[in-house]
Amino acid sequence: MTYRDAMSTSELQDRKLDRVFDQLDVNRDGVVDREDLAGLGARFLIGFGEPPTSAPGRALLEAFDQVWAALMSRLDLDAESRVTRDQFRRGMAEAFITGPDYEPVLRPVAQAVARICDADADGLIDPVAFRTMQTAYGTPEGDIVTAFGALDADGDGMVTVVELERAAREFYTGDDPAAGGNWLFGRI
């Protein structure tokens, strides 16, 4: 039985999960481990000059830890395991698409990301902070402006924290080809 037989994810969802896998697998060896996730977290924090021992920095890294723990739990692996693309798709889908883990696990990640992007806590993320975030995630330069436009639903030149969190939910769990959140990390 293949992964697609076993899971009820759509091709769109698979493409989005593949994008997330590629964000982690920067050495392109076809597997990811906890250090890859830690590396993504570090790149995000350093992009904003945020130390891992500030309150927002620690919150982000702890939230990332929970994502890895949830993934490993779904795959029945220990924390130091390495995960292939197929395993990653399956674990992420079981945890966050068909499973109940988005709210307790991935939403805190989105909130921690938004907290750091919105440094002055006015509920708005400006294009500079958005670009810093996207650079950390490895979004191609040309896609960053497109992604910003797709998430800025009211076209006021700012992405709100609410818009970012909604986009994250649509990206990780949704199956609507028309959803703006599909553009969270650029073209899928």
Partner: protein
């Protein structure tokens, strides 16, 4: 002095308000590294009866590197054990006032790195160093190895400076103190973050002003914190920030000089914070490839974690507290430990 003098930093500096995440394999990492130190004769007898055994360096490493494979955390812990064994050999031995003798101790160590092996009948420090190097250098570039050897040579010079200061009683001026102290603090240790994180910081990043402040500032903060905690009137090392400040400004060491050093630590932490905020834009300008950019970020993140990790380690380790009564059973390594 008491480490509690430093604890307010964790409240006053936003970059230090959250405790580090701790490697979940802390316990076996500590056990394995201690076993290695015993096998090389760096720790003899009851661990708690020696200053090095009371160091519990895994508690520092596991805070700075909470996500690495355990073997790499073990290796860095062993490097710390080796460095402190070297320091203790100098501090506690008859050579402490003789730069010539210190140099003679260091020369075979430098040669060990160049040869890659220890001489037949070599000292425990040599054989341990050869083993560490054999497990660290593979995979690292010639540039990194050269940088590491350069920094080891800086440490050697720092040890010579310290021996001269002990003999003559002359201390560096406060303005020169940071650079002198940095050499003595084992600058090569920060290079070891790169093999531990399976990366190398490229030359264009090493040359950034923000990076230099980040590295030097991290070394300064941890060194001066050590100075504050380790200060006693008859301290092992005269190259102590409290001693230098007290002497130069004619201040009582335990009060006014200590407060001044505390304020300098705080100010240096703020400089490190500014450098961290400047680093992101500078790195983006360099357009590093994703793999390299991530490696640099991990090293930077470890450096930024170091001040808080070091503070908590100082609080937990027994290296700077009075030696315990040997008749009292040691609480060391009970299976249940409470971590922040």
């Amino acid at each position: 002095m008491d480490v509690s003098l430093l604890l307010p930093l964790a409240d006053r500096i936003p970059a230090m308000t959250a405790p580090c995440r701790v490697h979940e394999r802390l316990w076996p990492i500590g056990e394995e590294s201690l076993a290695w130190a015993r096998s090389h004769g760096l720790v003899l007898g009851e661990a708690d009866s020696t200053r090095i055994g009371r160091g519990r360096f895994e508690r520092l490493v596991c805070r700075i590197l909470p996500d690495v494979a355990p073997a790499r955390a073990v290796l860095l812990t062993e490097w710390l054990l080796w460095l402190f064994a070297l320091d203790d050999t100098i501090d506690d031995g008859p050579i402490r006032r003789s730069a010539t003798s210190v140099d003679a101790l260091y020369e075979p160590l430098a040669l060990t790195l160049r040869r890659g092996t220890a001489r037949p009948g070599a000292s425990t420090l040599e054989t341990a160093l050869a083993d560490l190097w054999a497990r660290t250098a593979p995979g690292m570039s010639q540039d990194w190895r050269r940088r590491f050897r350069d920094h080891l040579a800086w440490h050697r010079q720092g040890c010579l400076d310290e021996a001269v200061a002990r003999r003559t009683g002359e201390l560096p001026a406060p303005s020169r103190y940071p650079a002198v102290r940095r050499r003595l603090h084992g600058p090569f240790l920060l290079d070891l973050l790169e093999p531990a994180l399976r990366t190398e910081v490229p030359d264009e990043v090493l040359g950034l002003r923000a990076w230099q402040i980040l590295v030097d500032g991290t070394a300064d903060v941890t060194a001066w914190s050590n100075d504050l905690v380790a200060y006693t009137p008859d301290a092992h090392s005269p190259l102590n920030h409290v001693a230098v400040t007290a002497r130069q400004l004619d201040l009582p060491p335990r009060t006014a000089a200590a407060v001044l050093v505390h304020e300098r630590i705080w100010a240096r932490l703020e400089e490190v914070g500014h450098a961290a905020r400047a680093l992101g834009p500078e790195l983006r300008r360099l357009r590093l490839d994703p793999l390299r950019a991530r490696g640099v970020a991990r090293v930077a993140s470890a450096l930024l974690a170091a001040p808080r990790a070091h503070l908590d380690w100082l609080h937990e380790c027994g290296r700077y507290s009075p030696m315990p009564d040997p008749s009292v059973p040691s609480p060391r390594r009970k299976p249940r430990v409470t971590l922040t």
